[in-house]
Symmetry: C2
């Protein structure tokens, strides 16, 4: 049987209350007795039963998720996953509140973060927009002892406790390697379709992609990046236009979300053009396109994993506990038509 607070109390010759005060670093214990208790804890090898503690405390973890009101499939599924997590709330002792903010709007994000300093939830998860003000607001929360996790897009240089998302530079590099290899030794032009260069994750993907292309596939030339704002109409127009004007295009990297426009343009193109296409984010549409050969590779981040991981990490941080690092690494999923879920 593993040791309990009673065992420590007995060993240290104090009462349960004192043991508890030491365990929870509450004041009102003489230095000398604190040391006695800490000693007992160590020699007995006590580890606290978190479940029992939570039961006694009636603890719930009020968590705040700040999500952009961005209208693409990926953000939709992220939102849906948070709602599902909320459905499991009572079993997991969480109480999840969602705050929606306009996308790519640092000021709005800061306005959402500010009041949390007062509200003091157990943890905060946010899809970060990369700006100094946001960094400062996040830092204030962390300094005030409120754990913060960035979701999907990181905020490097801030004090956030954890990032629950993929390594986007690696994603871009991987896209480049796959596209380059799939194209064999062919020479030609590559179309790059992004959402917006204002978002850190898109910038990082492009950076990784361009780096590997330059280093290892010099026969492939990147065309200037098209920013489709993740808007199907715009993407469709841009891609159709580019394809009709440039016969040398042999590959496409779509690093943003919302591929419907791209897929439409690809299906509408002339039979002559043989294209290899790498895109991000697995959705109903992109999966269908992968199956029918319109897209060759899809890189994906699993929104469900990201949300569950963020919750696990926030709860652990709130309790001052560690996490299983390997479990919290968000992997870059790579799909070809053969390994779809």
């Amino acid at each position: 049987m593993r040791p309990t607070v009673h065992d420590i109390a007995a060993a240290a010759g104090v009462s349960l209350a004192t043991v508890d005060r030491v365990l929870n670093q509450r004041p009102g214990v003489r230095e000398i007795t604190r040391l006695r208790v800490e000693d007992a804890i160590r020699t007995i090898g006590y580890v606290r039963d978190v479940a029992a503690a939570n039961l006694a405390k009636g603890r719930v973890y009020p968590l705040v998720f700040i999500l952009p009101t961005n209208d693409n499939s990926f953000m939709h599924s992220l939102h849906a996953e948070v709602l599902q997590a909320r459905a499991r709330a009572s079993a997991e002792r969480t109480d999840i509140r969602i705050i929606e903010v306009p996308a790519f709007d640092p000021a709005a994000l800061v306005r959402a973060l500010e009041p949390l300093l007062e509200e003091r939830p157990s943890g905060v998860a946010l899809v970060a927009t990369d700006a100094p003000d946001v960094r400062a607001a996040v830092d204030r929360l962390v300094i005030a002892g409120i754990p913060v996790v960035t979701l999907v897009s990181d905020l490097t240089g801030s004090r956030r406790d954890h990032y629950a998302g993929v390594d986007n530079v690696a994603a871009g590099r991987t896209a480049a390697r796959l596209l380059g290899r799939f194209l064999g030794g062919r020479a030609g032009h590559l179309l790059v379709l992004a959402g917006s260069m204002l978002v850190r994750d898109h910038r990082e993907r492009l950076e990784g992609f361009a780096a590997v292309m330059a280093e290892e596939f010099p026969r492939l030339t990147l065309l200037p990046v098209l920013e489709g704002r993740d808007d199907p109409e715009l993407a469709n127009a841009f891609v159709s236009d580019a394809l009709s004007k440039d016969d040398a295009i042999i590959g496409i990297y779509s690093l943003g979300a919302g591929n419907r426009g791209l897929i439409r343009a690809l299906k509408a193109r002339g039979q002559g053009q043989d294209l290899t296409v790498v895109a991000h984010e697995l959705t109903e549409y992109s999966a269908a396109a992968l199956k029918d050969g319109t897209i060759d590779v899809i890189l994906n981040q699993d929104a469900g994993h990201e949300v569950r991981s963020a919750i696990r990490v926030l709860k652990a941080k709130a309790d001052g506990l560690g996490v299983i690092a390997a479990q919290e690494r968000i992997r870059l999923d790579i799909f070809v038509k053969d390994n779809l879920p």
Copy 2:
């Protein structure tokens, strides 16, 4: 505040003990009162606090892991992950026992399974060897109410509750697609190195691989499968020999574990031969080979995920609870040199 057993007791006009009996489907309750209680549970919307229940029961989950004494890196890491899980045992209320059995030995596996019928652990996880006797032994356990999860290699046609492993047919197909595409339109021979065709996962990988090659890459010819028994020396000898005899080999698929021999042979080969190599299982050695270009793609299954998933599923089944299906899907990880962990 969410409702408790007290609320149900009050609503149904019975005592806590009766509520508990109903909740746990224990005998000794009149049909009529049982219905009253069940009604109260439903209308109040009660959900049991599993943590509190476990605390009261002093519940631990005795779990048995049956692992092959197979000397390759993958099995080593699987073993290590089970040990790590055992280190977390007290926090997770598990009590994990490991039984080691000779690899590929159905009789030994059956002998390990048999006594568990008496011992009645909360759950059993095993790396299955595919044989009728094993199937029968597993079925007996499941029928006796003991949850069984297959790990890494499945036992189709049995009553096992769950399979914690990757889809190996899909893995083989994916390997074929990547190898085929990486080779562009080239024609040539492909070397296939397996561990043993007696293991289901290897057979399934080959099946998937051969199918896609036949369907979509007719210019690539599969050579007869080499069975290297996951032995470095053997693999080295086989591959070196094959490469020296056949200049037309342009690709290799290594679908077994233990790639050290393969890597050695590849590094020793003459400069003339340009090979594209797809291998399974990420290890220290294979990762290094991926980085230096000796291997082009590594397909991997995360042993840690498999073990943690098996434990979660067994605990849930033991309590008659559901699991988050998406969380328990073991993905096929695909690594190129750019997205190594």
